[in-house]
Symmetry: C2
C-alpha cells in the first residue's frame, strides 16, 4: 500500500493533471477547493476531499492533518496557514516551501529578490497607486509603462499598460488596478521579440533539471499557444539561445528558491539576444502542459516525484516537436454562431470550446484535454489541445485547422500569423520551418540545384525545405551563421551545391553537427569557374574531406540524388518516409519495365528513345 498521501491546495486543471499523474503511481490525493466537483476532485475518488477555500486557514489545517505532503496548484493560498502547518505538523512536508510561496505572491518582492540573487531582469520599481506615483514612475522608466498589482495578479488580471501620462489615462490605470486598494509596482516596457518559458524541476535531494525551452504566445496576457522546442527562425540569431534560456531558468531556481517540485520560468527574449526573467511560478505551469504527450516524463509526473522524494524522471522531448493551444471560454456573441460539427456529441455549451474539441479529435497527433469546469466564461481556461508531430512544420500544419476555426468563430478579425495553412512550396517559396536546407554559392548554380527542390516538392510534399544562397568566399560570416544555427532552426540535412574550388559543403560541415550533402557543380558555363574540368574540380574538393568532417558527396550536377539522399536521411526521424522512398524506387522500376514492353512491341531496331 502506498505509504504517503498528497494534499493539493486548489482543485483546478493543474490539480486535476497532478492527480492524474499521482494515480499512475497509485498515490492517494486529497484536494482542497470549494465545491464537491472541482476539476481535480472529479478524477480522484476520495471521500476525504475537503470542501473549502485554499485561503481558509482552518480548512488548510484540516487537510494537513490527513496528508504527508502538501503542495499547491495555485500560489494565492494562505501562507500563514502553511506556516502554522509547519509548526503544528512537523512531519508534513510542504512543497513549495511557505517562504517561497510568500515571495512569489508579491511580484515586486519576487523581482527584488531575484535581482538580489543576480537573475537577469528588466528595470522595475515599487510605486504608489496615485497619479503622482505613476507619473513619477513613467518619468523614470519611460512609456509605455507596465503597471502591475503586486499581488493576486495572474492571467492578465492585475496588469495595465500605460501609454500616456495624460490625466485620463492615469485615472483609467488606477481604476483598472483596484482604485488604490492594492499595492502596485511598475516595470520598464521590455521590447521583447519573443516570450520563452522553461519548466524546471528540483528533486528533494537538490537535483535540478529542466525541460526544453519553448516559445509562448500570449493574447490579452493569457497563454495562447506554446511551441516546443523553441526554434530559431533566423540565421543571425545566437545558436546557443535555447541552451541559454534553459541555463537562466535553472540558475534562477538554484539560486533563488528552496523546496522540491516544478517551477515555471517565463522569460523575455530581446532583439539583442538578451534573456530577461519575467515571472516564476512555483508549480506546474500552462507552458508545460505539452510535456504530458511530448516528454519522457511530464511536469506533473515530475512534480509528484519531486515532492515525494522520488528520483526525477527524464525531461527529454520524445517527439520531434509539439504545440499547445489553450481552449478559453468565449463571449456570448461567439457562442451564438452556428457550428460546423456534424457529431451528435456535445462537449460544452460554449460553441467555441465544443468546436475546437471536435476539430482536435479530427486532427492526427492531437490530444484534447477538457477540464470539467462547470460554466464557460470569456477567457476562462476550459481545456487545451496538445499536438505532437515529427517536426515543427508538421505540428504547425496540424495546428492550422484549430487556429483557422478560432479566427473564424472570433469573427475573422484575428489575423493570426500562426494560422496560415498554405504550403509555401506550392508558390515556390522556402518553408519557414525547413527540415532540409538547399544552399548554393551563387545564383548561377540555381539551374543545377533546382531539380533538388522540384523533386522534393513533387514526390515528398510533406517534407519542408528552404532554398537560399550562401557563398563560402563572398559571405564567409553568413556561412558561419548559417551552419551554426542550422540545428537550432530545426534543419536536419543541408544540401550544398558548389563548383570550382567548391568550399561551401566542407566549410558548412565544419561548423555544424547536421549532415551535409555536397553537390559538385560543373561550373564551365560560369565566368571565373573551372571551365573545362567538367565538375571534377568541385568533386574532388567536396569528396576528399579530411578525417573528422564528412561531406556526403553525390554525382556531379546530380542535385536530384542529393534531395533523394536528404529524404532518406530525414527518415531516421520519420520511419514512414522509408516506405515512401521504397515506393518511389518501385516507380523507377515500373518506368523501365514499361520501356521493356515498348521495346518488345516495336522491336529493338524500331525502338526510339
Amino acid at each position: 500500500m502506498p505509504s504517503k498521501v498528497v494534499g493539493i491546495l486548489g482543485g483546478g486543471q493543474l490539480g486535476r493533471m497532478l492527480a492524474a499523474s499521482a494515480s499512475l503511481l497509485n498515490i492517494k490525493v486529497i484536494v482542497l477547493d470549494v465545491g464537491v466537483d472541482a476539476p481535480a476532485k472529479q478524477i480522484v475518488a476520495s471521500p476525504s476531499h475537503i470542501d473549502g477555500s485554499f485561503r481558509d486557514k482552518e480548512k488548510i489545517l484540516e487537510l494537513a492533518s490527513q496528508v504527508d505532503v502538501l503542495t499547491v496548484e495555485i500560489e494565492h493560498v494562505d501562507v500563514e496557514a502553511l506556516e502554522t502547518v509547519q509548526k503544528s505538523y512537523p512531519n508534513v512536508s510542504i512543497h513549495p516551501t511557505p517562504s517561497t510561496i510568500r515571495l512569489i505572491q508579491d511580484k515586486y518582492l519576487q523581482k527584488e529578490y531575484l535581482s538580489k540573487c543576480g537573475c537577469p531582469l528588466g528595470p522595475f520599481q515599487a510605486i504608489e497607486a496615485t497619479p503622482e506615483g505613476i507619473t513619477y514612475a513613467a518619468k523614470e522608466l519611460g512609456l509605455p509603462l507596465m503597471l502591475k498589482s503586486r499581488t493576486m495578479a495572474y492571467d492578465g488580471r492585475g496588469n495595465h499598460v500605460l501609454r500616456s501620462t495624460d490625466s485620463q489615462s492615469i485615472v483609467t490605470a488606477i481604476e483598472s488596478l483596484g482604485s488604490g486598494s492594492r499595492k502596485l509596482y511598475a516595470e520598464k516596457w521590455v521590447p521583447f521579440v519573443k516570450e520563452l518559458a522553461v519548466m524546471v524541476v528540483r528533486g528533494l535531494d537538490g537535483t535540478v533539471s529542466s525541460y526544453p525551452a519553448v516559445e509562448t504566445i500570449h493574447r490579452d496576457n493569457i497563454c495562447h499557444i506554446v511551441w516546443a522546442p523553441f526554434r530559431l527562425r533566423n540565421i543571425d540569431e545566437d545558436p546557443t539561445l535555447p541552451t541559454k534560456a534553459e541555463q537562466v531558468a535553472k540558475e534562477a531556481i538554484k539560486k533563488a528558491f528552496e523546496g522540491a517540485g516544478v517551477f515555471g520560468v517565463e522569460m523575455f527574449l530581446l532583439e539583442n539576444g538578451e534573456i530577461l526573467i519575467n515571472e516564476i511560478a512555483p508549480r506546474p505551469h500552462n507552458s508545460g502542459h505539452y510535456t504530458i504527450e511530448a516528454c519522457e516524463s511530464s511536469q506533473y509526473d515530475n512534480h509528484i516525484r519531486a515532492i515525494l522524494g522520488l528520483p526525477l524522471g527524464s525531461t527529454r522531448l520524445k517527439v520531434g516537436a509539439a504545440g499547445m493551444l489553450n481552449i478559453l471560454g468565449s463571449s456570448n456573441d461567439v457562442a451564438s454562431k452556428s457550428t460546423t460539427s456534424s457529431s451528435s456529441l456535445t462537449f460544452s455549451d460554449d460553441t467555441l470550446v465544443n468546436e475546437l474539441t471536435h476539430i482536435a479529435l479530427r486532427t492526427p497527433g492531437a490530444s484534447p484535454h477538457l477540464y470539467g469546469k462547470g460554466q464557460s466564461r470569456k477567457g476562462r481556461k476550459m481545456g487545451h489541445v496538445t499536438i505532437v508531430g515529427s517536426s515543427s512544420a508538421e505540428v504547425r500544419e496540424r495546428m492550422s485547422p484549430l487556429l483557422t476555426c478560432l479566427a473564424e468563430l472570433e469573427g475573422g478579425s484575428q489575423n493570426d500569423q500562426h494560422s496560415s495553412s498554405i504550403n509555401p512550396h506550392l508558390l515556390g517559396y522556402s518553408h519557414p520551418h525547413p527540415l532540409i536546407s538547399i544552399i548554393m554559392g551563387s545564383d548561377s548554380d540555381l539551374p543545377t540545384m533546382l531539380p533538388a527542390a522540384q523533386i522534393l516538392a513533387k514526390h515528398f510534399p510533406s517534407i519542408p525545405f528552404e532554398v537560399t544562397l550562401v557563398s563560402a568566399h563572398r559571405t564567409p560570416l553568413r556561412l558561419m551563421n548559417f551552419a551554426r544555427t542550422a540545428a537550432a532552426r530545426g534543419v536536419q540535412v543541408i544540401i550544398a551545391g558548389a563548383g570550382g574550388a567548391a568550399h561551401l559543403p566542407g566549410m558548412v560541415a565544419s561548423s555544424t553537427g547536421v549532415p551535409v550533402v555536397g553537390v559538385p557543380v560543373d561550373s564551365k558555363s560560369v565566368s571565373g569557374g573551372g571551365g573545362g574540368l567538367g565538375g571534377v574540380d568541385a568533386m574532388w574538393s567536396i569528396l576528399q574531406m579530411p578525417r573528422g568532417i564528412p561531406v556526403a558527396t553525390v554525382a556531379i550536377n546530380n542535385s536530384t540524388n542529393a534531395a533523394l539522399l536528404a529524404v532518406r536521411i530525414v527518415s531516421a526521424g520519420q520511419p514512414q518516409l522509408v516506405s515512401q522512398m521504397e515506393e518511389y524506387l518501385r516507380t523507377l522500376g515500373k518506368e523501365v519495365e514499361s520501356k521493356v514492353d515498348v521495346m518488345n512491341d516495336l522491336g529493338w531496331a524500331q525502338y526510339r528513345k
Copy 2:
C-alpha cells in the same frame, strides 16, 4: 456539458485506463464491479458506480439505465443481460456487440467462426473431456497438444499442454481443466518462432485502422514483455512481415466482427514466415498498454472515441521504440527477500512489485503504472512499466535493470535472454539491434573499414552498430535480402565499403529506402583488385549513381568519415546527437590549437610532428 455517459462492465486495470482516457474528454464514466474501490473506481469520482458483478444481470440492467453507451473491459460478462439491454434500452449502444462477446467467450466457436471467415488458423477440434476424447485428439493432431477450456480461459488459466498420452498425463490434464465440468477443445501445437500482436480499432462508421505490430513474450501463458515495433532479427526473414501481421489482424476484424472499439489480435509467427491467428479480444489489451506513452493516440483513447462515434485518433508510433513489462504479484518466498531500495516510500507490500516500481522510477523514459489492487497474489497483474526510447537498442538497454532485478528476486534461476546488459561493442561484436550497419564485400576490406567501427565505439557508444560481409558479386541474393530487410530490422544508415568495380553501395541503395554511405576502397593490395588506380576506380563507381538512387560518397578509404556521417544521419531521429557531434568537432579544433601552442613554444624550425 458532455451529453453521453459511458458504462464499463469490469473495474480492473483496463477499466481504469479507459476511465483515465475518458476523463481527458470530460466524459462521465460509471463502473460496474464488486466492491467500492475496484481499480477503475479509484480514479473516477462518481457516486453512481455500481457495486456488483459484471455477470449479474440485475446490476447490468441497473448500469444500462444510467448510461448512453455500454462497453466491457473483460469479455466474461453476462451476454444474456446485454441482449436484454438491447431490447429494453434500445437507445443504449453496446460495444462490442453482445453477439461478438458471445462468440469470443467460447474460444472454440471463435476459432470455428474465424476459420469460416477465411482467417489463417492452425488446426483445432472440439473434444470430449474424457480420456478417450483426448487420446483421439492427440492421434489426430499429434503431440505436444494444446488443450484448452472453451470458456473462462485467460492469462493461462484453462490451458494445458499435453506431452504424452499415458494415462497419468491424461488424468492430470482432465483434472487441471475442470475435471470434466467444462467444455474443451484441442489445438495442434504451433511451432511458432515468435508471438506477435496487433491492436485494431474500428470506428462507428466502419473505419478500421491498426497500431504497429509488436512482439510479445509470454511466461506461463501470461503476457510478460511487449516490444514495439516488431523488428526482424535476421536478413533471411520476409521484410513485409510487420505489414503482413497488421493486414492479417485488420482483415480478421473487418471480416469477422461487428461493432466499434479496439480489438487485440494475438498471432503466431512460424519459421516459414506464415502468420496464424491465436486469439482475439474485443477490448483494450495488455499488448497495447505501450500505446499510452508511445503512440499519437492510445488504445484507450481510441476505444472511447470509437464507442462514442468520434473520429479515430492517429495510431502512429510517436517514439522510436517502446517496451512494456508487466508487474505481476510474486509468491511469498520472493516477497521475503531483502530489498535494495533506499527510498522510504513503499508502493506495495509485495517486495517484487515495490522494487520494480523503484527501479522504473530511476530509469529514464520509464513510466510505471500501478493499478491500485488491494492484495498482491502470485501472478496477479499489479501494474506495468512502459519504456520509450529513440531506438530498440535504447529501449532494451533501459529495460535491462528491470529484467535483472526480476531475475535476481526470482532466485536467479530465470536465465532471461532479454536481460543482458553488456554492450556487445565492448567485446568487438555486432549489436543485435543496430542503427548503423557496416558492410563490405570482402574481409580484405576490413582493415580499411575498421576505423568506422572504432570511432563509433569510442566516441558514440550509445549508437548500436553491426559489422558484416555482403558481396555484390559473390552473394547477390544475400545483398538483396540484406537491403530489403534493413528498415524492418531498424537499421537507419548503411555504410558500404567496396573497391574496384565497387557495386555494393549502389546495389544496396537500389533495394532499400535507407540511406547508404559508400566508402571507395583502394584495393591495390587485393589480388584481382584494380591495382594502381588508387581507389579512383571504386570512387567513380560509387559516386556516379544514376538519378533516382543516391549513394553518399566519402573520400577514398575514409571510413572514419563514413561513420561520422552516419552519426550525423542518425541524429535526424535523436537531436541530442547533433550537440554530441558539435562537441566532437570542438575536440578536433582543440587538438589543432594545442599544436599551435607547441609550435609557438618550440618555434617552427624546431617543430616536429
